[in-house]
């Protein structure tokens, strides 16, 4: 990371080192853009700034995937994905999103109990870590004040907790069940069976009508309830897609368009990173529809296709 000087930078380094140790002990993590093979298929993730000319000047999304190693410790989890969308107006939101992904996945893998208890532990870990970093910033506010922000505004930001805020979506496969938990809005969809005869189902859709967002942040460290919590038998699932609202806005309410785009890639989907290919295609051909940071994860089950 190294984005912050002083104690906050040191604290962030400690957080990431601890999470990395946890994740590499039981398997293999992949951040940002990666394709990873698991026993029955592949996990592909990609995050991108999005089309040039949009209002933002940085990618505030973060994506992290993890695949269990042979005999690794994951509590029976085969793979897991964390996707976070930093709140647009929030300061250091990209850091908050990255912290949320790493801390939540590390906590998910080490937590015991039922699936919903694991989800709770993961989300709480993200909130605690973001809160701890925000507290340290608050101890030396002038040191971490962005240059282009007035003192009055920075005081307001700290008082209202308008920093490090992020949504968080988690998906993992455990015991033949896909678990999907979300804080804030994101999109998730599955395809069951081969594309021509199977069905497609939207499990969650981003809120495209308002700019309001439910987010983890310094003033919302312990989220009362998840905005989405679903458990899907993976036996017949052939594809699963998880995406941020930027992708959701572009594809519209019919997530079938996403799978259709995937199918049109044909054999190209089997090579390289299909999530990256799709996002790059959207930016190139329909940039105006996708004016946002764009993050997508695609999980493929080979035997069901």
């Amino acid at each position: 990371m190294g984005r912050f000087p002083g104690p906050v930078g040191d604290e962030i380094e400690v957080i990431f080192s601890a999470c990395d140790a946890q994740l590499t002990a039981g398997g293999k993590p992949g951040a940002g853009s990666a394709v990873m093979r698991w026993g029955e298929g592949t996990v592909a993730i990609h995050t991108d700034f999005g089309p040039a000319g949009q209002d933002k000047d940085s990618n505030q999304d973060s994506v992290l995937a993890w695949i269990a190693g042979e005999g690794g410790e994951g509590g029976g989890i085969r793979w897991a994905i964390a996707m976070a969308d930093g709140v647009t107006s929030s300061h250091y939101a990209e850091t908050g999103a990255e912290i949320a992904c790493w801390t939540s996945l590390a906590a998910l893998l080490s937590a015991g109990g039922t699936a919903d208890e694991k989800a709770r532990a993961a989300v709480d870990a993200a909130g605690d870590a973001i809160g701890a970093v925000a507290d340290m910033i608050g101890e030396e506010p002038s040191r971490y004040k962005p240059e282009d922000v007035f003192d009055s505004m920075w005081s307001y930001v700290l008082r209202r907790g308008l920093l490090l805020q992020t949504t968080l979506s988690l998906v993992w496969l455990e015991g033949g069940v896909c678990h999907i938990g979300m804080v804030g809005d994101a999109g998730a969809a599955i395809e069951v069976g081969p594309g021509e005869v199977g069905g497609r189902k939207v499990l969650a859709g981003p809120d495209l009508k308002t700019s309001r967002v439910h987010a983890i942040g310094p003033n919302n460290r312990r989220v009362e309830r998840l905005d989405c919590w679903q458990q899907i038998d993976s036996e017949d699932v052939s594809l699963l897609a998880l995406y941020t609202d930027g992708v959701g806005r572009g594809i519209g309410p019919n997530a079938g368009r996403l799978f259709h785009s995937f199918e049109r890639m044909g054999s190209r989907a089997a090579h390289g990173n299909p999530a990256k290919r799709l996002i790059q295609d959207w930016i190139r051909t329909r940039g105006q529809d996708f004016e946002d940071n764009l993050s997508l994860a695609i999980v493929r089950w080979d035997h069901n296709r």
């Binding site: 647009t88 007035f150 003192d151 009055s152 505004m153 307001y156």
Partner: protein, 230 residues
């Protein structure tokens, strides 16, 4: 198509602040806090960056005369230090007419030169005028100029004026009937608690909405939360 703020089409918020002598004290303090809070909320909207303001501010203080605050003359909100804005209640009488006249001249030019030719004019938010006063207008008739402001429009969508009448005791009532006539339909709020004045300015000013119906809904929500009866 809904009118929404963006970096490429910020909303102009025009605050007409009663700075007459009767405002001095808690009412001026509440007005200061409300305008500052509105500025901070507006600054907090949209992607970070000093050049990414989603709002611009005009501040006109009026006592016996109306004066445009030089640092708030259609200025992007992220270029304004909220702490530097104050209402003191040291302006003498209550000249609502001149305040509206100063506002009209700026708004007419803004609509003609900025909104009408804008490439995103169908989505461009329209200016929102917020006026608060605790007194009776003592200078001419402000209604004709208020009507002219409300007739400024783009594609039939008019500028909205929202008014708040402020009082802290029954012996010191504002001219509610006049303020209601100045305001767009359903866009008047009767305030007898200084803190509600802060909420009116902060919430309405940073709401990003344009139409009278949308502004009326914001005012309705303020009333609901504060238990204020219609």
């Amino acid at each position: 198509m809904k009118r929404t703020t963006r970096r490429s089409r910020p909303q102009l918020v025009c605050v007409l602040a009663d700075n007459s002598g009767s405002m001095a004290g808690p009412k001026a303090q509440a007005a200061t806090e409300g305008i500052q809070e509105m500025l901070l909320e507006c600054q907090a909207t949209g992607p970070r960056g000093a050049d990414r303001s989603y709002f611009r501010l005009v501040l006109i203080r009026f006592g016996s005369k109306a004066e445009l605050e030089p640092q708030c003359n259609m200025t992007p909100v992220r270029q304004i230090d909220a702490a530097s804005i104050t209402i003191r209640g040291d302006g003498g009488g209550t000249n609502i007419t001149e305040a509206l006249d100063v506002a009209y001249r700026g708004l007419e030019q803004y609509m003609r030169e900025v909104v009408e030719p804008h490439p995103e004019r169908t989505e461009h938010p329209l200016p929102l005028v917020l006026l608060f006063s605790d007194g009776h207008n003592g200078f001419g008739n402000p209604e004709p100029i208020a009507t002219r402001i409300k007739r400024l429009n783009v594609d039939g969508d008019p500028i909205t004026i929202a008014c708040a009448g402020v009082s802290t005791d029954d012996s010191d009532r504002p001219d509610e009937e006049l303020l209601k006539r100045i305001a767009s339909a359903e866009c008047y709020l009767d305030i007898d608690d200084a803190q509600v004045l802060s909420a009116f300015l902060a919430e309405a000013g940073s709401s990003g909405v344009s139409s009278p119906a949308e502004v009326a809904e914001v005012i309705h929500q303020i009333k609901d939360r504060r238990g204020i009866e219609d």
